[in-house]
Symmetry: C2
Subunit: 306 residues, 2 copies
Amino acid sequence: MSLLVIGTVAFDAIETPFGKTDKIIGGSATYACLSASYYEQNINLVAVVGEDFPESEINKLQRHHINVEGLQIKQGEKSFFWSGKYHNDMNTRDTLVTELNVLENFDPVLPDSYQDCEYLMLGNLAPALQKLVIERLEKRPKLILMDTMNFWMDIALEELKEVIAMVDVISINDEEARQLSGEYSLVKAAKKIMAMGPKNIIIKKGEHGALLFDKEQVFFAPALPLEDVFDPTGAGDTFAGGFIGYLSKTDDASFENMKRAIVYGSAMASYCVEKFGTQKIESLSDEDLDTRIQQFIDLMQFEISL
Amino acid sequence: MSLLVIGTVAFDAIETPFGKTDKIIGGSATYACLSASYYEQNINLVAVVGEDFPESEINKLQRHHINVEGLQIKQGEKSFFWSGKYHNDMNTRDTLVTELNVLENFDPVLPDSYQDCEYLMLGNLAPALQKLVIERLEKRPKLILMDTMNFWMDIALEELKEVIAMVDVISINDEEARQLSGEYSLVKAAKKIMAMGPKNIIIKKGEHGALLFDKEQVFFAPALPLEDVFDPTGAGDTFAGGFIGYLSKTDDASFENMKRAIVYGSAMASYCVEKFGTQKIESLSDEDLDTRIQQFIDLMQFEISL
């Protein structure tokens, strides 16, 4: 199948207890596309960067079979830049700098060649832009996944709800699910959010794993217990990218297949956090993937016959 | 096989966002024995209560095939009493009252009929008492599980370490594992604690599930996502009781069987939190158990062939 990904392609500067980076490549679409590329060979990117964005990095995306026809390069402008510092527990962070730059006036243009995409991932962006992308597709994709965050719940709740009503799967973290639903219980929160439109909700719990719901069923995948989490930046985008990349490749949106997609997404995220930025997920081998999936099988599988 | 459980049998008064109880029956051994009784029919209890402890409650334990020959009843004294209030998130609580009463001079006496026990659960108690029980057994059990808490790390660390060196499996929560090991990463914490003696460590993460380690392997079981957690009191003891009850019944301490035991323990804990105190786990049917285990299978199992 073919997958369309919209999101940010950007610069990050990250500080963790393990070290500090200068400006490195980041952004929700970067992580999601790289991650999806291990499963889906037909990926179309929609994003915007400034003239400061290195061509070598764009080439890197292309080497991952990511079509960059929809990546706008704005001359005379600068790329989106985010800088953050993680606390010792790696679960919380302070944002030090956010420079929107090219994102401020981003108008997502979809090349004609993108029109037949069957799977769509709306990475974390202003809900109005996410909606625009859906509207600009002549044919509704088979499956639309949206990722969002509390920031949009705070400043653009009504627009956000409009997008939520248009998608099949929403992916948010536990605190965001609580904020959006007004329910503390994640089971109740999931039900309320699915009542807003989506058939499925994925609730990301960071180091505590992720839950997948439909109206009747629930599935849980843990995060892989690691000796060191080096840099959690992009783990959620990597997870979502692996999830939809696998769905797109297999072209099967059944709950059973989504379970597998959650495991593949978790495996990709577990690699992501092992190095700074996209470093680790840029060059994984088939063997790396199989090894990690086997670790998830060992971590989660047991035999009980009733 | 036969299982020996030492711990507290006590009164609790509990306040949660859902309601409030007067003095009800609680204690680590009460929860653990009741939970284990669904798997193991040969359970021997060692604990102490005061003359205020109702005979009807002792009869209830006996109806669960729990041998109370080792339950001392101290005339003229009062039972251990704990009172606590849970915060809205149900993950944290304030202790309002702790009256040690009979626990202050507890001398655990083991009836002769307990001497041949093959599985031993040392419920949360002063490490010196846990050690005494091991020493008073003429033959070392096949498997010793200890549960403990940060309180003993604060006031009796050296004694605690002596007991840890004597047991096969230690069960503690994530914060306690971090405190005991000085490591934030639970993988590193588990390794350090196993280096103190135990072959296995179980790290309980409350609503985020539980991890089981041996030197080479790790297994994870989530907590069942529930609409409402009514009262978390005793969930950890219930989990540990279900775990060792299942091990004792099946007499198999392999890692594969421990995985199953973790799932059975998690299932028991998920029932425990649905009502106040021991109410729910006093009268579960075989069908209840099967239904819940099936929910865990659905929650955790996926099919990927590499």
